[in-house]
Symmetry: C2
Subunit: 163 residues, 2 copies
DNA sequence: TATTGTTATACTCTATAACTATA
DNA sequence: TATAGTTATAGAGTATAACAATA
């Protein structure tokens, strides 16, 4: 009996795990495609949102929060600072560290990203009626809690290999 | 009004898209972790399953089906052939092409993978009762169909960048 | 001594294009 | 001419370890 003839109803095609991974990864890809015209990667958005959420974090704090190597933060912040959406300001209490600040342009960019996210959300939710969508969110949230996933950090930012 | 104070109930933390991407990506990471002791990557599993599903495909057909560059198939097949789970056999009708065949060891390996997959599935499904699990699968399948995702191919195998 | 940001280096994974042998 | 498999090359992205300035 080979894979195709498997009698079990939980072959890969029917499994929750494979389905979830496929749909989840595809959702991320679509979001990245929508972001591309802004010359922005999902990881940039993750960083910008973390800065907004943490106030004026140091690069070390950001690295710890996002699960990235600190040396990786350097290049991302360089790029975003060159774009004028993020600023390194001196930390008056510790001259080794910076405070990262969003600029007005950065907040405006996050506004654009929010609109892109809303369109993405609408597209993804289109096949579901409101009740179904609520049910899906509720069940997914249950899984996320069971796995102790942080609420506002994407696990794809942390891994060792290239994206 | 900044991101944290957003009044909309569809901020990133509450969105279906972000939740789905997080849980889906994490599910894939967990599967990869479970596969690691076998010195196997999810992409190897995808390739082996495709070979099993397609019969005795050429590398070109495999590349097209998985959405990979043909040159990428070469290294993956090299590695799996060295392990003795896959064989290149001459195609009697076209001496340019190979037929890829699973070996007995390859089928045995896919058996191990199926057991790992079942454990993974059980772990992932643990927070849900059977009814909830069925509902989740049904809704996810609806999304997968709407996006025209192939049933047995993972979209993460196709992208341009490194995994 | 320890920590922050940075740089240097090496590694992994990938696609593209050129190559060969067949068709 | 076109196609299957292969190889060579270049590029992107990452972590690790070593560095200077500061604590």
């Amino acid at each position: 009996m080979n894979e195709r003839d498997a009698k079990h109803p939980t072959g890969p095609e029917e499994s929750l795990a494979f389905l979830l991974s496929k749909v989840g990864v595809r959702a991320g890809q679509r979001f990245a495609e929508r972001l591309a015209p802004l010359d922005l990667h999902p990881r940039d958005v993750g960083l910008l949102r973390a800065v907004a959420g943490l106030g004026h974090p140091s690069q070390q704090l950001l690295a710890a929060r996002l699960g990235m190597a600190p040396s990786r933060i350097v290049g991302l912040v360089d790029s975003l600072e060159r774009r004028g959406v993020l600023e390194r300001r001196p930390n008056p209490d510790d001259r080794r560290a910076y405070e990262l600040h969003l600029t007005d342009a950065g907040r405006a960019l996050l506004g654009k990203v929010a609109r892109i996210g809303a369109a993405h959300e609408a597209e993804l939710s289109a096949p579901l009626d409101p009740d179904e969508r609520r049910t899906l969110v509720r069940l997914l949230r249950r899984l996320a809690e069971a796995q102790q996933l942080p609420i506002d950090v994407h696990p794809g930012l942390a891994r060792g290999g290239p994206p």
